[in-house]
Structures are given as C-alpha cells and as structure tokens.
Symmetry: C2
Subunit: 333 residues, 2 copies
DNA sequence: TGGGCATGCTAAGGCGTTTAAGCACTTTCA
DNA sequence: TGAAAGTGCTTAAACGCCTTAGCATGCCCA
C-alpha cells in the first residue's frame, strides 16, 4: 500500500513551492499570475501521480465542507425519498454531497440532528421542520448559515422555503369529490399544527363551504402503530359513515385503505394528498394530489446553492402548484 | 453572534494546559492520571460554556470521521430505503453518522461515489455492489478499510457480506406456485449476473426441476423506461401465456402488474421477491418473499462497527433466511 | 540613474485538535 | 540516603492544507 501523496510531495517533485501548487489547484493560477507553462506542468504531474487533496484539511482551513445537511421527516416515505433522490443528483452535479437523517417528525430528534450537522460544519441545510424547532432554526439563521425549509415552513420565521400549494390542492380534491355527488366528505389528517396540515385543512374547509356540505374530520396520531391507527380509523368510519374520504397524506391513505380492506367495509370515494407509484395499480386506482417533486427539489437546491455561492441574499419563498390526478377511486357513475 | 469557543479558551479560563483539557474530554483522565477534582472542574466548565470540539480538526488529527458511507442502489426503492432507515438509527445510537448516495446500479457512478467517500475519509463502507466494481472494492480492502456488502456480493472477492437466502426464497415461492397447480410458471428477472439474481434464478430452476415443469424466463433491462418495460412484458405474456409469474424483485412485480392492468389481461398467479407495504393492499393481495430487513441492517452495522472497534478481524459472511408470505395472488381454489 | 510597476513565485503562519515526550516534584524502598 | 517509581501536569510537534504578505527580478519611463 503506497503512502498518501501530499501537496508538499508535488511541490518537491517539481522543485517549486507548496503555495504555487495550491494556487494552481484552486484555479487561481491566472489571478496569481502563475505562468502557463508551470501551470500545465503542475496539472499534468498531479494527474500522473493521482494526487487528491485531503478534504478534511481543506475544510478545516477554509471552513467549507461542500456538504449539505438534509434533515427529512422519513426517508422511507416515497415522497421524501424521491425528493432526496433528486436533491442528491443535483447537488452532486454541482460538487456538493448530501448527508441526511430522518427525524420521524420528532422535535427532540430534529434539534439533535441539526446540532450534529452543525458540529460537522455542513455548508447548508435543507429541512422539513418538525414542530418546536423555531429556536434551533433561528440560531442557524443568526449564524448566517443558509437554510431552506420544505414541505412546510415556520410561520414565525423569515426563512427560505419551498412548499406546494396545499390549500388549492386540498380544495381541488375535495371539490372534485363534491362534484361527483358525494355528500359526506371526510378529511383524515394528523394531530399537528404544521403549515402543510393547516393548509390542507383550510383547502378542505373552503370546498366544504363552497358546496354547502358538513365537515367530518378525523385526526390521527402520527406516532401510533399501524394496527391502532387502523382500528381508530375503522371506528370513525362506523361512526360517521362518510361517502367520501380525503386523506391529508399518502401514508394516511394507505392506513385508511388497509382499514377498509381489513374490516371488509364498503369502499367510499377516496382521494389522497401526495401521489404514490402504486396508487395507479390499486383497484380502484386512487385519485391523488400530486406534488411536483422534481420542481421542488430543483428549487430547493438552487436556492441553497445560489446562497452558498453568494449570488443571492434575499428571501426566497416558493409555492408550487400541485396537480389533481383523477383516477377511479373518486369517480361516481 | 458569539464567537466559537475553542479548547484553548477552556484551558485559559481554567489556567491549565490544552493537553489536560483534551485528555479529560477524551475520557483519558484516569489513564493520564489527571486528578478527579480538576477533571470535574473542567467538565463542569465545558458544560457551562457549551464548548463543542471542532469535529473537522479532530478528524484531521485522528484520521477518524465517525462517518459511514452508504452506497445504495436506489434510496427511492422501499427495500433499500427501509434498510437505510434502520442502519441510520443503529449507527446513530453508536455515535456514527451516515452519508449516502444512490448508484442506480451503474458501474461508473458507483466507482465515483466510492472514491468520493474515500476523499471524505469515511471510516467504513456499506455497499450494494453493482457489476464491475471488483477492483474498486479490492482497493478499499487493500487499504484496510472496513467494507460490508449487502443484497449481493462479489464472488471473486473475500469480503464481508450480508445477503438473504435467495436460492431458498425463490425456490419456496416457485414451489408454492407449483403446489397451487400452476403449470406454466414464468420467472421475470433482469439482464444481470449479480449474485442475488443468479441465485433467484437458481432457486426458480430447482423448483422447476422438482416439479418437472418447463421454465419460462423473461429478462428485462433495468435501465428501460417504464412504458417500454410494460410493453415488453406484455408481449411476453401474449407470447407465452404463463399461468403464474414469479418476479425477481418488487419493482419488476410492480411493472408487471401495471402491464397486466394497463392491457386488461387476465391475472395469472403472482409472487414477488421482496415484499412491499402495499402488496397486502392490492386486489388480489400479492404473495411475496419477504427479506428480514431489520435483521439485515443489524448484521450490517454490527459487522462494520465491530470491525471499526477492532473487535473483529475475521471475515463475516451472513446469509439470512427469507420468509414466504402467502397472500391471495398465488392461491387457487 | 533611479523610482515605480508588473511579473512570477515563496515563506510562514494558522485552521483546532491530539499526543509523544518530558518536567518538576513527591513518595517508596533497598 | 539516593535511585527508582509514581504523580499531575505541560510543551511542542504534528495532521494537510490555504492564504497573507512579501521578495527578487526585470522593465519602463522620466
């Protein structure tokens, strides 16, 4: 096993100073007026011996790690996984790496993870904020660290964020169910005051108003195990017998469908916020509000990297449209 | 915004040397015979002022980053996402972080990613090897870097790995279909010589032998876009009209089901390698060979961390049993 | 003829830690 | 009583890179 090559080895090999090599490797040859001939010689030699700078030393010195911290609710949720996938690819192509962790939407874990990323000196943060992390995020902002939130934001805080138009998405889905002639349209959502949930509720209520219907709302605990949630939802169905259900997230929809199947209940009209690859495979296929995943990832990474490059100082708050994908589950007649 | 506290600040505050503080913070107080009184004083003061060591400097000096590189085929695939989730949690609780990237099973990308992790000095590697990376992995081994492969392994290389019992899993699924009276059982797999695919084919063939049936094998390109794959599979069905299909991975099963649905074909008996949360929601529910995801993650992280702690030097090659979960899709009568 | 300026490069300090080696003093023990 | 061993710390050198400040040379122009 050959020993690791250092920048000083390169300098020695070529009989020049470390400084010169460093300038050249960092693209400052022109600026520092290193002659073209030498520049070429250095570059060639570096390639020949396969020298790679030690990123740790570099980071220690420059304070930059070229790493982005991705703090996400749950990487096993297809919505987040797909976002992560796009972010990863885009960051990669611009020379940044991703380091990620899942928070399960737990405050304490989120705070801890952000601190951890801070300890690692990540250059920027992409976060799905859980509740109660206002101070933590504020402290990032105070330290001038670039932050972009997504999926939801923190109302008290002036941060960059990228979300989808939750109000309109929920309105469209609910209105569509109403137009299909459903009278008892239920909303299944979480115990949560996060903005995306609040806005989906809002959209649902507006549609209920438009069509002069009665609201039926079922709230579920995120932390509950699946069977508890299934039973819980089942008793709601028994109790209120809605003829349509709008689920505020895809995993709520999945749990709901399991409950219906497991208890052999008649299938109400159904729609879900967030699409899922398999929704078009169900019988019936499931109507969903589909978020523009790639566009979201695009915006996130652009905002963050532009900020890192110093190209952009102002606040960016982006709301992207969601699209209602109508499938069998919501159709009547 | 207050300036970052350094270890030297702690030393200055307390009128002692940096070395002493460092020893204490690294749990070497006893070993280095620092008095208990001083130890306590330092610890208290550190907590009071909220000092956190700079991990970069630490890593530069020690050569350890406490980061594990996770090189995975596709984080958006639920099988991998769930493994990642468990690994993340387990690593976390033992003081390690995860940095991950998806390879799409492309050789070049995989090689590049591993090099990247190397540049970042990750302490260990967990890899789903794509084809053609033998040399790259060999070079990690030569450098004494801890590596564990999973889902598949590299036959030419003596490495640690954790896989499921693909032969038996595939055999069981195929045999089960045969026992249900199916006569024309097809295998849908990938153009791939990776071990997991080879073994699943092997298991399928053994069951075909046992029951004296004819094999019908359809191979698909991993890279094809969905519609191409759907059409491709559709013409196979038209051509061979199998009465049962065993899909070698969950995404093949999903594509296959989409083809059947889209072309309104009669549903053959179906089974899939790899389970999926939603398979129990389909109509019919889908029979699957379920890999022990948590056990796999457990083994992976244990092998790696024990190696990092120097507790274990020998080779660990683990084969875990898969379980056939029988659901409606494969039942007759 | 000498001050100013452009050119092409280098010396050395610093980023924030860890750690080998050592120092001054006390105790032990033959 | 003096050498060895123990005690409780400290000094200073890494780790591998970036970057400020500056040096030597040659040329221009007044």
């Amino acid at each position: 096993m050959k020993k690791k090559i250092l920048i000083s080895d390169i300098a020695k090999d070529l009989g020049i100073s470390v400084t010169t090599v460093s300038f050249i490797l960092n693209g400052k040859a022109k600026e520092k007026r290193i002659s073209e001939g030498l520049t070429k010689r250095v570059l060639e030699h570096v390639k020949k011996v396969g020298y790679k700078p030690n990123e740790l030393a570099k980071s220690l010195r420059t304070g930059k790690t070229k790493i982005i911290g991705l703090v996400i609710e749950d990487i096993a949720n297809p919505f987040f996984a797909n976002i992560a996938r796009f972010i990863e690819a885009k960051a990669y192509s611009r020379g940044y790496r991703i380091i990620y962790c899942s928070t399960d939407n737990e405050t304490e874990k989120t705070v801890e993870l952000i601190q951890l990323f801070r300890d690692r000196h990540v250059d920027g943060y992409i976060i799905t904020p859980s509740e109660g992390i206002t101070d933590t995020v504020q402290s990032l902002l105070s330290s001038q660290l670039p932050v972009v939130l997504f999926d939801r934001y923190i109302p008290d805080l002036d941060t960059n964020y990228v979300v989808s138009d939750n109000v309109k998405g929920a309105y469209d889905a609910t209105a569509h169910l109403a137009q299909q002639g459903c009278k008892r349209i239920a909303l299944v959502t979480l115990y949560s005051s996060q903005t995306q949930m609040r806005d989906r509720m809002d959209g649902y209520m507006r549609a209920i108003d438009t069509y002069k219907l009665q609201p039926y709302v079922k709230k579920v605990n995120l932390g509950d195990d699946e069977q508890t949630a299934i039973n819980d939802f089942h008793s709601f169905l028994e109790d209120q017998h809605p003829d349509a259900v709008f689920f505020a997230t895809n995993y709520l929809a999945i749990t709901g469908l399991k409950a219906i199947k497991q208890h052999h209940m008649p299938m109400p009209a159904v729609a879900s916020y967030d699409d899922h690859t398999l929704f078009k495979l169900f019988s019936p296929t499931i109507t969903a509000v589909s978020q523009p995943i790639e566009a979201i990832a695009d915006e996130l990474i652009n905002i963050l990297l532009n900020q890192l490059d110093g190209k952009e100082k102002g606040l960016k708050q982006v709301v992207l449209p969601s699209e209602l994908v109508i499938r069998e589950s919501s159709m009547r007649g």
